[in-house]
C-alpha cells in the first residue's frame, strides 16, 4: 500500500489493530438489547470499610495446621487425645472402660479446637513410643474422603495451591 507522506495526522499505537474488536463491542452494546448497567448497588461508604475489616481479620487470624502435617499425624494426635480423654474419664467417674472406638471424630476434633496442647506434631511423634506395627499402620493409613473434604472445607483459605489450580469449564 502506498504511504501517504502528506498526512501529518497520527493515531495511537495499535489503533487500527484493535478497531475491529472495538467496533464489534459497540455493535453488541447497541444492537443486542443487553442493558449496560446490571443494577447492583453497595451500601453508602462501603468501600471505606473494606481495609479496616481486612486488617482486623488479619490481626485476629488463628494459626492453622497444614494438611500434610494433619494427615501424617492425625492418628498419632487422635491417640493422644483418646488417651487424655480416657485418663480423665476413668479417673473422674470409674465408669465401664471406654474404648477408642467409642470416641466420635467430632469429639476428637473439638478437643483439639478447644485445647492448646502446645506440642508440634513432630514433638508428639517423638514422645509417643510406637512399635513398628503401629508406625506401619500410621504410615499406610488412609483417611476417609469425607473427613479430608470436611477439613479442607473448614480451612480452605490456607491452601493456595488447591484453590489456584482451579480449572474453568469451557
Amino acid at each position: 500500500m502506498k504511504k501517504n507522506h502528506k498526512n501529518k495526522f497520527k493515531t495511537p499505537e495499535g489503533y487500527f489493530d484493535s478497531f475491529n474488536d472495538r467496533l464489534m463491542e459497540r455493535i453488541v452494546e447497541e444492537t443486542s438489547g443487553i442493558p449496560k448497567s446490571d443494577g447492583f448497588a453497595v451500601p453508602e461508604g462501603y468501600f471505606d470499610s473494606v481495609y479496616p475489616k481486612v486488617s482486623q481479620r488479619i490481626a485476629h487470624k488463628p494459626k492453622v495446621v497444614s494438611l500434610s502435617e494433619y494427615k501424617k499425624y492425625l492418628y498419632a494426635a487422635a491417640s493422644i487425645a483418646a488417651m487424655v480423654v480416657l485418663f480423665f474419664g476413668l479417673k473422674g467417674t470409674q465408669q465401664p472402660q471406654l474404648q477408642f472406638d467409642d470416641l466420635a471424630n467430632s469429639e476428637i476434633s473439638s478437643y483439639f479446637e478447644d485445647t492448646d496442647i502446645g506440642l508440634s506434631s513432630y514433638e508428639i511423634a517423638q514422645v509417643v513410643d510406637f512399635d513398628a506395627e503401629e508406625l506401619d499402620a500410621i504410615e499406610n493409613a488412609t483417611l476417609e474422603d469425607e473427613l479430608i473434604l470436611e477439613y479442607i472445607e473448614d480451612t480452605t483459605d490456607s491452601y493456595d495451591e488447591l484453590n489456584l489450580d482451579y480449572e474453568f469449564e469451557e
Binding site: 443487553i34 448497588a41 473494606v50 481486612v54 480452605t156 484453590n163 469451557e170
Partner: protein, 180 residues
C-alpha cells in the same frame, strides 16, 4: 508498570509491608468487589469473599513469583475465591447446579443492594444459563470493560478463545432476552 513494581517491592519488604498492603487494598478493592459481586450476586457474600481474597493475597504476597502481573494474580485469586465459595455452599446444601443458580437469583431479588429493574433481573437469569467461563468472560468484558489481553492473563486462555466465548455469550443472552 513502575508503580506495580514499586508496590510489589514494598509489599515484600517487612518494614513497608503494612502500609503497602493498605495501598494495594485501596487500589484494587472496587475493581475486585465488582468482579466478585457479579459472580456471587449478593452484596453480603461479595463482601465476605472480597475480604477472604485480600487475606489470601496478604498471606501469599511473599511467595508471589512475578510470573504474571499483579492485577491478574489478584483477579485470579478473587475469581477462585468466588467460585470456591459457591461450590462450598452448593456442597453443604447438597443441591444441583441449577438449584444453586435459582437460589442465587432468589437471594438477588431479596438483596436490598440490588436495584435492578425487570430487564436487569432477566439479564441475570440469562447469565445463569451460560457455562461458567462464558459468564465470566462476558461480565469481565461487557461490564468491567477489561481488555481481551487482560482477561487472557487472568483466565489463562487465548485471546481468540475469549473473543469466541464473548460473542457466543452475547448471542445467547440476546436470544434469552428476546424469548422471555
Amino acid at each position: 508498570m513502575l508503580e506495580e513494581e514499586q508496590l510489589l517491592k514494598a509489599l515484600q519488604n517487612t518494614e513497608s509491608q503494612a502500609k503497602a498492603f493498605e495501598v494495594l487494598v485501596n487500589t484494587y478493592k472496587e475493581r475486585l468487589y465488582w468482579h466478585i459481586r457479579r459472580i456471587v450476586l449478593n452484596h453480603d457474600d461479595a463482601d465476605d469473599v472480597l475480604q477472604n481474597t485480600f487475606i489470601k493475597v496478604y498471606k501469599g504476597i511473599g511467595k508471589f513469583k512475578r510470573e504474571s502481573k499483579l492485577y491478574s494474580w489478584l483477579y485470579r485469586i478473587a475469581t477462585n475465591e468466588s467460585l470456591t465459595f459457591l461450590k462450598q455452599r452448593q456442597r453443604k446444601s447438597g443441591i444441583s447446579d441449577q438449584e444453586m443458580q435459582d437460589q442465587l437469583l432468589g437471594s438477588l431479588e431479596a438483596d436490598v443492594y440490588f436495584d435492578g429493574d425487570e430487564i436487569q433481573l432477566k439479564l441475570q437469569k440469562a447469565l445463569t444459563t451460560l457455562p461458567e467461563k462464558q459468564k465470566l468472560v462476558f461480565n469481565m468484558k461487557y461490564f468491567q470493560e477489561l481488555k481481551y489481553e487482560e482477561i487472557s492473563e487472568i483466565l489463562e486462555t487465548s485471546v481468540g478463545g475469549l473473543k469466541a466465548s464473548y460473542h457466543l455469550a452475547a448471542k445467547k443472552i440476546e436470544a434469552f432476552l428476546k424469548e422471555n
